[in-house]
């Protein structure tokens, strides 16, 4: 791709579709992740022509996913989820087995901001400054939210480590 040129949107989907799906999963669980993905990319397609050529496409997409996930969470609070709303296909994730359900419970139990910071840093690989831009607040607050989130995950799901995560 030459400099200063916007690539076809299909390439954006190809490059970032997987990451956005994983981010949506952490934010919302398996059940709502696919709808959030669809809404994110449709909204992104709408405004794509206005995105500056040198923008970080992944941070931009995660920002949209963040807003879409907030909409879903708000809708859920208005209409409480049925009891036992655990991801319905736990075996489709990472390491198969019963323990997956425990990790998802631990992720779900995090305060919103910690879960978001974990998703944006450890799953999307965004820098804390970018995450601060999404969450509002300072870079330090974003770093702290991610660290607290990981600490809580470790406490509630002792198998969790952060090895291999971006520095």
């Amino acid at each position: 791709m030459s400099m200063g040129m916007k690539q076809p949107f299909e390439k954006v989907v190809e490059q970032h579709g997987g990451t956005v799906l994983r981010v949506c999963r952490v934010l919302l669980g398996v059940h709502d992740a696919q709808d959030a993905w669809s809404e994110t990319f449709l909204a992104a397609l709408r405004t794509y022509p206005d995105l500056p050529d040198d923008a970080n496409a992944e941070a931009w997409l995660v920002t949209i996913a963040h807003r879409k996930a907030i909409d879903v969470l708000r809708a859920r609070k208005r209409q409480p989820a049925p009891v036992g709303d655990v991801p319905d296909v736990p075996n489709g994730l990472g390491i198969p087995g019963a323990e997956d359900g425990d990790l998802w419970q631990a992720v779900k139990a995090l305060p919103d901001k910690q879960r978001q910071a974990v998703a944006y840093h450890y799953v999307a690989g965004l820098a804390y400054a970018e995450i601060a831009g999404i969450l509002g607040g300072t870079t330090d607050a974003a770093r702290r939210a991610a660290a607290d989130g990981i600490k809580n995950l470790r406490k509630n799901y002792p198998g969790a480590t952060t090895e291999g995560a971006p520095a």
């Binding site: 690539q7 994983r22 999963r25 990790l103 480590t161």
Partner: protein, 199 residues
């Protein structure tokens, strides 16, 4: 077990993503956001890229043109809202299939010639006047469009035809009867001419 991108991945992701991408193409079409839809089809002349705007078929590209580069150009010149969405290309794909199996002589498709301007577009609009199995020289086409001096410009118009095969620039030959250049390569031009001659 790491809290890393991989952990939240699933072996089912490729299938899930291809389903989601398909759904995105349909939703984009329904919302009027699909400025350029494309697909690739197999043909006797190798894979062909087909792209269409809401107005009609806008680009047919041979493999030698490099489909990624063609898509970059469409993104730049038409709109970056480009998605692989085969549905809009179904009629074009079917008619090309029929053409290559000698069951179709005339394409009946809405065309979008917006990638060409001025004299080039004028020439491309007239190329379908050359019937199936017939040929014209560059000079004859120049006369056909009412500008007999513009032989060289007709050559350029043929060379920059965004819709090869469908807009039959392959039916325009040099005055000495040799095929002349072709966007799909000289072999492709000969193959199309003999396909039509054999019918």
């Amino acid at each position: 077990m790491n809290i890393s991108p991989d952990y939240f991945a699933s072996p089912a992701d490729p299938g899930t993503l291809s389903r989601l991408r398909h759904r995105l193409g349909l939703a984009a079409e329904a919302e009027g956001l699909l400025d350029v839809a494309y697909t690739t089809i197999d043909s006797p002349l190798g894979p062909l890229l087909l792209a269409a705007t809401p107005k009609g078929l806008v680009r047919v590209a041979y493999d030698v043109e490099d489909h990624d580069r063609v898509l970059d150009t469409l993104s730049q010149r038409l709109s970056p809202r480009v998605l692989r969405a085969p549905r809009r290309l179904e009629a074009a794909a079917r008619e090309l299939d029929e053409y290559f199996s000698r069951q179709r002589r005339v394409f009946d498709l809405p065309l979008d010639l917006s990638l060409s301007k001025g004299f080039r577009q004028l020439v491309q609009r007239h190329l379908p006047d050359i019937g199936y199995g017939q040929t014209r020289t560059y000079r004859q086409v120049a006369e056909l469009v009412g500008n007999p001096q513009a032989v060289r410009a007709v050559g350029t118009a043929c060379a920059t035809n965004p819709l090869p095969v469908v807009v039959p620039c392959h039916r325009v030959l040099r005055a000495d009867g040799t095929p002349g250049g072709y966007v799909g390569g000289p072999g492709a031009k000969k193959a199309l001419l003999s396909l039509e001659a054999a019918a």
